[in-house]
């Protein structure tokens, strides 16, 4: 789950990491009032779960409260990478002396959290990493000991020669590392970590991604979810316990298991079609999940055919069959359905489907070929 910048800032501040002042607003009037209060130039920043906000015009500097309100009126409601901006963050324009990068993520190869820093912070950090990787310093942390003081200071000294600044940055790193475990973050980034003209080290912008598997044990973090900032189909899928990613094709896929789902999409392409989505109903199917899946798939007007590919293991084929039958009672399907089922309770499923007027296949290639043909028809 992505947090908004303003939420991330709050978390960092609560954990003792210096964050410049800033307030969140949903209307231009609020922005004007906040800018008046700050009494200086401010930056108005779109709060959306998308990178490249600045390039999309979602980050603007304003010299006066009136200008800030004007920027806000344009940014609020703006669409960035398909997501509508509903909140803006207003902060005093910082007087920046240097910009660094600080990020923590779990590295699957090292099987450890890795702290990454670079004195070349800012929006071009990925380019820096690609072109001059030696400018990124990395440390894989042994989670049994955590990020130790000397390790943090060693990284900090690659950012700052001034020892007071280095110690401040090292402290931020240790707090950031502790925050990862405390809130269940998959990623925390401060970019840029800035020094101001008066020498203070502070987190100008922050990004936090929470491991969805941690949300159950962190209800206070789960409560930060802004469903309004996500695509409605993904909100619906999550509510139904499905994994769903919308794509651009015409064959709506409904599969159990992520690997088989990907292989199914690949096979659609192999036979000349284009998948309309990635949809994994997961293990432990129940008929209602299948109903929800069909609702989400059919809500996409591009879908011309729907393909079920179920290999029963924990997932019972009869559950899936019942779900399909139930869905067609709840709403009318306007696109053809191709069903492939095999494995646990396959015979029962075939019986249920046949009685309801559907036919079922057992061969994956055959099913995919039919669905591609139907979508093209």
């Amino acid at each position: 789950m992505n947090l908004h910048e303003y939420q991330a800032r709050d978390i960092l501040r609560q954990r003792g990491i210096p964050v410049p002042p800033g307030e969140v607003a949903t209307t231009p009037d609020q922005v004007r009032a906040i800018a008046t209060r700050f009494g200086d130039r401010v930056v108005v920043k779109a709060q959306v779960h998308a990178g490249g906000r600045g390039k999309a015009g979602g980050v603007k500097l304003a010299a006066t409260p009136a200008e800030a309100a004007e920027h806000a009126s344009k940014i609020l409601g703006m669409t960035i990478k398909g997501l509508t901006v509903r909140h803006v963050l207003v902060t005093p324009a910082a007087d920046i002396a240097s910009e660094s990068y600080l990020g923590i993520i779990v590295d699957r190869a090292a099987q450890r959290p890795v702290v990454m820093v670079s004195a070349a912070g800012g929006i071009d950090i990925e380019e820096v990493a690609a072109r001059t990787p030696e400018r990124i310093h990395r440390l894989a942390v042994d989670p049994r000991y955590g990020l130790l003081g000397h390790q943090a200071l060693g990284l900090a000294l690659t950012l700052y020669r001034d020892i007071a600044q280095a110690r401040a940055a090292a402290d931020i790193m240790q707090r950031l590392y502790a925050a990862c475990y405390a809130i269940g973050a998959s990623l925390i980034e401060i970019n840029p970590l800035v020094t101001t003209r008066d020498g203070a080290v502070t987190a100008l912008d922050a990004k936090i991604v929470i491991d969805d598997n941690e949300l159950e044990r962190h209800p206070e973090i789960a409560a930060l979810r802004d469903s309004g900032a996500e695509a409605p189909s993904e909100v619906a899928a999550r509510a139904a316990g499905l994994t769903f990613i919308k794509l651009d094709g015409t064959v709506g896929c409904c599969v159990n298991g992520a690997g088989l789902a990907m292989a199914t999409m690949d096979l659609v392409k192999y036979y000349g079609g284009q998948p309309a989505d990635f949809l994994d109903i997961g293990g432990r199917s129940n008929p209602q999940k299948v109903v929800s899946a069909l609702k989400i798939i059919t809500a996409d007007p591009s879908v011309r055919a729907i393909l079920f590919n179920i290999f029963g293991g924990i997932t019972r084929c009869d559950d899936v069959a019942n779900g399909i039958v139930q869905a067609t009672r709840e709403f009318r399907l306007t696109v053809p359905l191709v069903i492939r089922l095999t494995g646990t309770n396959e015979e029962l499923a075939v019986k249920i489907l046949t009685q309801a007027g559907f036919s079922a296949l057992t061969d994956m290639d055959e099913a995919v070929k039919q669905s591609v043909a139907q979508a093209a028809a």
Partner: protein, 289 residues
Amino acid sequence: MSIFIDQQTRLVVQGITGRDGSFHARQMIAYGTTVVAGVTPGKGGQRFDDTVPVFDTVAEAVRETQANTAVIYVPAAVAASAIFEAADAGIPLIVCITEGIPVLDMTRVLPFVHERGARLIGPNCPGLISPGRSKVGIIPGNICRPGRVGVVSRSGTLTYEIIHQLSTQGWGQSTCIGIGGDPLIGTNFIQCLSGFQADAETDAIVMIGEIGGTDEQQAAEFVQQTVTKPVVGFIAGQTAPPGRRMGHAGAIISGSSGTAAEKMAAFARAGIAVMKRPADVVPLLRERM
């Protein structure tokens, strides 16, 4: 023969009285696996299905039944704890089926398991099966046939699909292992490949990867350097959208690696026969043998 499990496997089922645990314990017993104990705290002293003794702790189960393998079916919130417990009790092989374990939990679990010299398979995996001998996990026994192909996969149902292809066309399996789809797992491709290479009863290996990470590329290098048996490989996710970007850090860590194209190229370079679709597995095996 088989790798990791065989007729000597004495299994303790953690979470045996739960919904998944009880269902799969019965399946494993029916398949012939020697299930010597179950563990559910607070239910120590009971018997599962009137036969398998249930203990409060894995340590007790080991003491009383000499269990040497554990399989975990407990909910995600307590699954890391279950792995710690099995390793702490001295179990040398731990198979964790549970999906949804937080990645940060695993950063703490893995060094603990390694320090104790134990092997963890999974989490978020279907487990493993040595057809006709033993089954630990959830791979449907009825789709497998005893034979001489080793199967190792990051996937669940996709593995069943491939096993199904093999079995229905007369290619039985020595062992099928699902290593799990999570970012942090206990046993990787290389360790399984190395097991199959050493196994006198495995003649060929099928390896099923996915997009993400660099495990398959490293495995390909290992195959090139060490594996003399024929290897056939598949990568799922050729048409998958590029994964959600994990901030700048994700890009910095992984660079451009992790795509299906890159992994398939690594396979080809290493002399692994690359399937375009699951149905290619048997034709390619036939070609390579």
